[in-house]
């Protein structure tokens, strides 16, 4: 597992760099500016969470980093290489689960393994491990149409983990999960991230989740997305998610973020 990390070299440059990036969409009513001169840097092994109002442009930023949308101005680079099409070793969990409906749970996860170049001999055990982690062992041969919403999102997560990307772009990955499952998945994600030093960019609407997971939380304004605040979360790791809720530092962070978020849009519309 370390081998994939090595090929990437270990320079000190940030893994993801956005310099003054703007993104627009062409619509019937003209150009819609969605991301407005955003600059940010994500280090190797950093866990950054993005929060911001619905429709502000978070997903668009992730898509731009993954090379799926072109930036209108500014420069995006991953591992020092300018993004121009999907960069290497990126894993993306879309907001909407994009499972392949004609493949079973096992087949969908296998896609990640295949594209990571895992030899077929090792796949069976890797899949079994992942299914246990995702609590889906029983459903390994079910098709996506036979799964509940939360189960589909977990399969999506499994596919991304199977790919073992150096950079994980996760768009509301736990949004459809109950608290228990979310806690388990979060813990697993942190474990993987801590042992394998990957960079994570994570979108969520759950501020407690953001604080529990992040090194840094970036708060975005309503569309067009601008960074209105940056919160460095200096809680010790490894974190125990259950105990965090009673930690006063934790509550302080969440309140601070609420505050900056509240600035974005008046609560009494």
């Amino acid at each position: 597992m370390a081998s994939r990390d090595e090929i990437r070299g270990a320079g000190g440059a940030p893994r993801i760099l956005l310099d003054n990036v703007s993104v627009s969409y062409a619509t019937q009513r003209g150009r819609l500016l969605v991301v407005d001169r955003v600059s940010l840097a994500v280090d190797r092994a950093e866990f950054v969470v993005l929060v911001g109002p619905s429709g502000c442009g978070k997903s668009t930023i992730l898509r731009a980093i993954a090379g799926l949308n072109a930036a209108e101005s500014g420069i995006i680079s991953v591992d020092g290489k300018k993004v121009d099409g999907p960069p290497e070793h990126i894993g993306f969990m879309f907001q909407r689960d994009t499972l392949l409906p004609w493949l079973t749970v096992r087949g969908n996860i296998e896609v990640g393994l295949e594209l990571a170049g895992v030899p077929s001999a090792q796949r069976t055990t890797r899949i079994a491990d992942l299914l246990t982690l995702l609590r889906l062992s029983e459903f390994h041969d079910a098709y996506p149409a036979q799964l509940s919403g939360g189960m589909r999102h977990r399969v999506s997560l499994g596919r991304m983990l199977a790919y073992q990307p150096a950079v994980m772009l996760m768009d509301e990955p736990f949004g459809a999960l109950d608290f228990q499952t979310k806690a388990v998945m979060g813990r697993e994600l942190l474990r993987i991230w801590e042992t394998e030093r990957r960079s994570i960019l994570f979108v969520t609407h759950d501020i407690e989740e953001a604080v529990a997971l992040a090194d840094r939380v970036l708060v975005f304004s309503p569309r067009p997305a601008r960074i209105v605040a940056e919160h460095r979360i200096d809680l010790a790791r490894p974190r125990n998610l259950q105990q965090l809720r009673t930690d006063p530092a934790f509550t302080a962070y969440t309140s601070a973020i609420w505050e900056t978020l509240g600035d974005g849009e008046p609560v009494s519309a």
Binding site: R63, A66, G67, L68, G85, P86, E88, I90, G91, F92, F94, R96, T98, L100, P101, W102, L103, V111, G112, E114, L115, Y143, A145, Q146, Y163, P165, L169
Partner: protein, 276 residues
Amino acid sequence: MSEPAASDEMIPLGEPGGGKAIASGSSLSIWLWRIGLVAVLLLIWEFSAGRLYNEFWSSRPSLIGERFLALVAGGEIWRHLGATVSEALLGLLLGAIAGTPIGIALAKYRRAAEIVDPFVMGLYGLPRVALAPMFILWFGISLLAKVMMSFSMVVFVFILNVTEGIRTVDPDMVDLMRTMRAPKSYILRKVTIPSIVPWLLASLRIGVGLSLVGAVVGELIGANRGLGWYVLRAGGQLDTTGVFTGLLVLMLVAMIANQIIFLIERQVLHWRPATK
């Protein structure tokens, strides 16, 4: 639409374990219905021929049956059936094998496609019957000529259906694959082709009929065997029973082909939940 659940898979059962049982029971009754329908039609035909209209134009099921049995008994039928089926089948397969990648290419390379698209349609608009001399010239009076005739009808169906089908592929699925830097061939195999399976099946269904038409047209322009040839000869001799016998065999061929495609469809699309 008033009943909450049909007996399809993926839909909760009305009664425990009911799904399978109902399915097999109904497949029997479907066959009974089909057979009954055929029987009624044949009876009407048999007894109205000669009464309601001149028998010359319609022959009679009994005469057709007799002729059919004679053809089978004499073994003559295999010569015609073999010729036509092999022409149509080869044409259909070649059409699928050539048309699918062309359709995919046209959908993927938009610029090039826009340039050649009108020409493809132009070629498609040419009536094959009128091209008969060219076919003879290029391919002779051989199996090849008929296969090519059949192919030339079928290939466009695949091209056009596949091109349109690819445009309905979920862009998110492709994007997701791209983020993992999946090679194009992998995307094709895992996303594009499975997405267009319904389009391929529809093309196959449409292709069955056209490949038979193509084979018959091919036999019309140069042949000494085949069901088309048989029908044509019977027609030329005002032998209506012969015409209908030939047509009957062609119908049976199309039906059997359809049943095969139905089985393929069940195999390939079993993941798909049913729409009500």
